[in-house]
Symmetry: C2
Amino acid sequence: MTTEKKLVAAAAALLDAGGEQAVTLRAVGRAAGVSHNAPYKHFKNRDALLCAVAAADLAEMAAALKQVRQSSAKPAKKLTQALKGVIDYNAKHPARYQLLLNDPRFATLEGDLKQAAYSHFDEFDSIVRECQAAGELPDVAHITLSGLLFATVHGLISLEASGRMKREKGLAGVVPSLELMVKLLALAKKGSQPAS
Amino acid sequence: MTTEKKLVAAAAALLDAGGEQAVTLRAVGRAAGVSHNAPYKHFKNRDALLCAVAAADLAEMAAALKQVRQSSAKPAKKLTQALKGVIDYNAKHPARYQLLLNDPRFATLEGDLKQAAYSHFDEFDSIVRECQAAGELPDVAHITLSGLLFATVHGLISLEASGRMKREKGLAGVVPSLELMVKLLALAKKGSQPAS
DNA sequence: ACCTGAACACCGTTCAAGT
DNA sequence: ACCTGAACACCGTTCAAGT
């Protein structure tokens, strides 16, 4: 494994183990078997290393979505699996999820991250279109609908992770809330064709 | 103004000016006219100071929501205003918004923050119930529906702020996406009563 | 009760130097 | 081309001491 990949893997492992504050260049170097400033030979700075982790994760999520899309499941099932994939990713790697989808530091998408973000969204959008074609989702602009669905699952995950959506308030969890969302969208489809 | 309030105000101003990384205790102390470790006499540590800023902001947002709820506008209009308030808050104070709704550090809500979170959600939920009563939103569990709506606006804002929802992809902005969401929920209401 | 200045450990980053 | 060790500036936190 090249040193660059070792550094990215070490940073990802440290994120899982102790959150972003655990990712010091000294710890990364130690875990990768190099000195604490070797990373500067491969990345501009610490943020660039974290950005590389995010790009790799997003590419991985895109690949997982592609698997789902190419499966033989019914469209509605594919959508559920796609949404569940996002939820599971957050459950397994909360700090990396936060980096991936909630960190404004990499708002100007560049290079690998931009590429990964595009292919990830395209996969998701394709599944949404399949659902529309199958009559499971309303016939509105598919890109906007995809953005809306993804924003909803992301918002639910985010609010729960940040403790703002506690069950104490009587709130449902992420999965039941999403199920309601999908059910309401199906009803909207029905409501838009009263003559059917 | 008490020193404690000065510290919170200074931290909030620094967040607006330069993001979280600009909020060093030395800078906070300087802005409040005290030494760099005076904050420790009022807050356990830096995180506790940031948490106090979040609690104050959430209380402010709750007060703004209360104004909307008590206004004479129609329910649908109140909902739009409530959602717009969240969007505007992020536009004016992105770093504080991030702290308020996306920071997992304060996931264990305590004291002021917990109180503020509850009253904020209650106000929002009341408006959602008014919309249901007026037939503008589907008759599903109001708390879940409120959570879903808030998660959607938060997810849209978050993804846009973190650069993951660029227009380049053909995506609509936060406001048009939300308008679609509300429109689809109205259609769902219609689809659930085919006999009306 | 509230504050200060010095000190400590730690970190990101830079630089001169090594192979 | 890739890496290292020393050094710098900065920060959160602690502590002894001041009023």
